[in-house]
């Protein structure tokens, strides 16, 4: 276990350096820097731009800047957003809160609906419900989430202001509300985005659940259990379900990485103040340290998520152990 962990953690280091360097390179391929935004202002002279470039360290060669940034990161200094003039950490933390709420809510939404429906559908294979719900699952998986977001915005606008807000993370007077009302306000603003982001996940999970159960239901050990004379209910809950849930545990780990920026387009369409939109704008305005900070955190989440998923898999699935994992 310990050897496996150390190996994996050591493996991560070159990976993170590689990813951040490539991202840094890609950002530097774009001509200009953040300060180019100021150059069209007739009141800002080229000397001021040069002074600011020097102040932000943008006038150094690529490698020097990258090493400097990396050095800062090692000392937990993620740098300074050029656009917002505050530290990248505080910016990401503020947005990450919104994103995590949204991501967790959509995940919960998807899971608590998908798993029971998947079970019911599988147990009644080829019934009319199975067909209808499987078809709907395909619809849900196929509808592009930005298109669904457009539809929801349209729907909300059409319903008028007494219904759900068509966009935003909270109301403008959020800060003047009481705590309970704040929570209610947030939930109101979450319903449509959660639906938009949850639908695809829910459809996919439902299909996975269904096929898992179908596979296990017909496997040897379930037949054995039945042959032993166990009641059907016990067979289903104790043997089928427990084994069918295995892949879901690993999936939870993998979706950690998708927390960051998995939904930039939806955030843009529905104006959600999340990490995706932050990163999108940062990429477009060449706010390089903000981009790098987000990329780094996204990568770490992904890698840690994968690691946790693998550990969880070993924990629940007796067929897998660390030595087989390490050889992959």
């Amino acid at each position: 276990m310990a050897r496996f962990l150390i190996r994996r953690l050591l493996n991560m280091i070159p990976l993170i350096i590689g990813i951040t360097f490539i991202s840094f390179l890609a950002m530097s391929l774009v001509p200009g820097d953040y300060l180019s935004n100021l150059k069209m202002n007739p009141r800002i002279s080229p000397e001021i731009i040069h002074q600011l470039q020097a102040q932000f360290g943008l006038d150094k060669p690529l490698l020097v800047r990258y090493v400097k940034w990396l050095w800062g990161v090692i000392h937990l200094d993620f740098g300074y957003s050029l656009q917002y003039r505050v530290s990248v950490t505080s910016l990401i933390a503020a947005r990450a809160f919104n994103t995590v709420i949204l991501a967790v809510a959509s995940m919960v939404f998807a899971w608590i609906l998908a798993i029971p429906i998947g079970i019911v559908v599988a147990l009644r294979q080829n019934s009319i419900w199975d067909r209808i719900l499987s078809f709907l699952a395909f619809l849900g998986m196929s509808v592009p989430n930005f298109f669904l977001a457009f539809l929801m915005v349209y729907f909300a606008m059409w319903m008028g202001k007494d219904w759900l807000p068509p966009g935003g993370t909270f109301s403008v007077d959020y800060n003047s509300l009481t705590l309970m009302n704040r929570i209610a306000d947030r939930i109101n603003h979450l319903i449509l985005p959660v639906f938009v982001l949850g639908v695809a996940g829910m459809a996919g999970l439902m299909r996975l659940m269904r096929s898992q159960i179908l596979e296990i239901k017909n496997s040897e050990f379930v037949r054995t259990a039945r042959a032993k004379g166990l009641p059907e209910r016990v067979v289903i809950y104790k043997h089928v379900l427990r084994n069918a849930l295995n892949p879901f545990i690993t999936m939870a780990g993998y979706s950690l990485g998708d927390l960051l920026g998995g939904a930039a387009l939806v955030e843009a369409v529905m104006n959600l103040q999340g990490l995706g939109l932050l990163l999108l704008n940062a990429v477009r305005s060449l706010d390089i340290y903000l981009v790098m900070g987000s990329v780094l955190i996204g990568t770490m989440l992904l890698l840690v998520g994968n690691l946790l998923a693998d550990i969880a898999l070993v924990a629940v699935d007796p067929r897998v152990d660390f030595s087989s994992m390490a050889s992959q």
Partner: protein, 575 residues
Amino acid sequence: MARRLKDTCAHPAGRGAVGLLCLIAALAAGCEVRRPTNNHADQQILYTAVGADPQTFNPILVTDAVSGELLGDVFESLIRVNPVTTLPEPGLAQSWDISPDQKTITFHLRHDVRWFDGHPLTARDVLFTLKVIYDPKVPNSIRPGLLVDGKPLAAEAPDDYTVVVHLPKPFAPLLYSIGIPVIPAHILEPVWKAGNFNRVWGINTPPQKIIGDGPYKLTRYVQNQFIRMDRNDDYWMTDEHGARLPRLHGRVVQVIPDANATYLRYQYGQLDVYAPRAEEVLDIRQKIGTGRLHARLRQIGIDTGELFFCFNRNPRHYVKNGVTDPKLTWFTDRNFLRAIAHLVDKQAIINLVYHGLAVPAVSDISPENKLFYNPNLRDFDYNPGLASEIFETAGYHMVNGRRTDPQGHPIEFNLTAPTGRPEADQICAILKQDLENQGIKVDYQPLEFTTLVEKIDSSFDWDCVLLGLTGTIDPNDGSNFYRSSGNLHLWNPNQPRPATPWEAEIDRLMDAGASEMDPQKRAPYYWQIQQILHDQLAIIETVRRKDYVSWTDSLENYQPTVWGLYKPEWIQFKL
């Protein structure tokens, strides 16, 4: 079917799913937000929105519009500009005298101005402010406007309430550019001396620590959410009855990056003021008409900025190893440019892009700039027939469906604009269609703003661009654009000496206009500049939007103009 549904519900897992669904529905339905009813009027607090966070609270270091707008309410300036007359009017200086030779200006400061901490504001603060602005280690956007012939002004203070400024030659724009925010010397001078001026009063500073002298104090700032300002009870201005101004008790400025969200919030009554875009004007009009919105909508004038096409005339890009790209020949050929100008279908742009809420732009200066706008220019009207006639007489003939120049090169060029602006895409698509009907091939490719700027500023690798620059009252603020040496002289920036006689003439007129103190006598110089730009087609104008502002019914004395609010201190909610 019903039986099966019952079956599903009977199954434990099915029951679970149905139960959860009900739970979610109940949860969602139960989330009615009980918000305090719109109390902006009772509290006399004005709610507005800005599109981005401020980048600094240091008024000298401001480079972004949002910080400038916010700090304008916190720091008073020496002289203000009246947005209705567009003339300078008293601010911290209650009056000023200009010496007969027009080289010395004496400002008489008010005696009753105090900083938020109670210190009186004196000439020492003004001198300190100038010193900081001229400090080469302080990057600021104020300095260029206060340089006459590249040299700083000499300023002195004979007493605590008099500031005398000496100019090397008469310099009219000074009265506009001296409208600088004055900063407190007693707080910032030690910081500046310690070399920390560039780091002081960043946006992480607690707002109460920002010591200004304006009508409002900053009291709270939550990043990405709002800026709260409260009334400065000791503000010097009084109304006609002697009551202290401002009348509002405070302002809340919401940070809402998305224009659509801002509009939505205005409709919900969460904001009191909104400047709608063309489609929203129609929507507001409709909602006011049907009583769904209790607000007013007013057209406040013609926008001060506009979008224009500009062709690259930079030999540094087109002449390589002694070979001149034919493009340079076309783009400096007045006949070619005239034909293009006649192909800009301004009426279609107005109708299709701005829903009819725009007017053709003729000059680079807005008609709202009553002092300097030249009303005598004749617009190039949309006339494809005339355009092809001009092409033909100038030797640009159609060959196999392609327009070719006299040397036989088929005409084609790249057109670009900043991304993320749907109106720019549409205007370019309209021009492209008309040019292609004339056999001219156009490759349209919008670019990220930063990329575009790099091309215009450094690599010069572009052919034609659709751009907009915001207008200012004093045309001298546009020096960088008009002068051949300017870095915003888009078509050929940073020229060591003027490349053409007409550019030299513009340089001369800019100098002459700047040294004439009487606004009425200044205007003709800038009229002439507009005429030259128009005749030479250095930029080809499109249209100007009509500006609208809508505000809630209960707001009184709200008088917006295209140059800003008129008498903002008098704004109040109906009691």
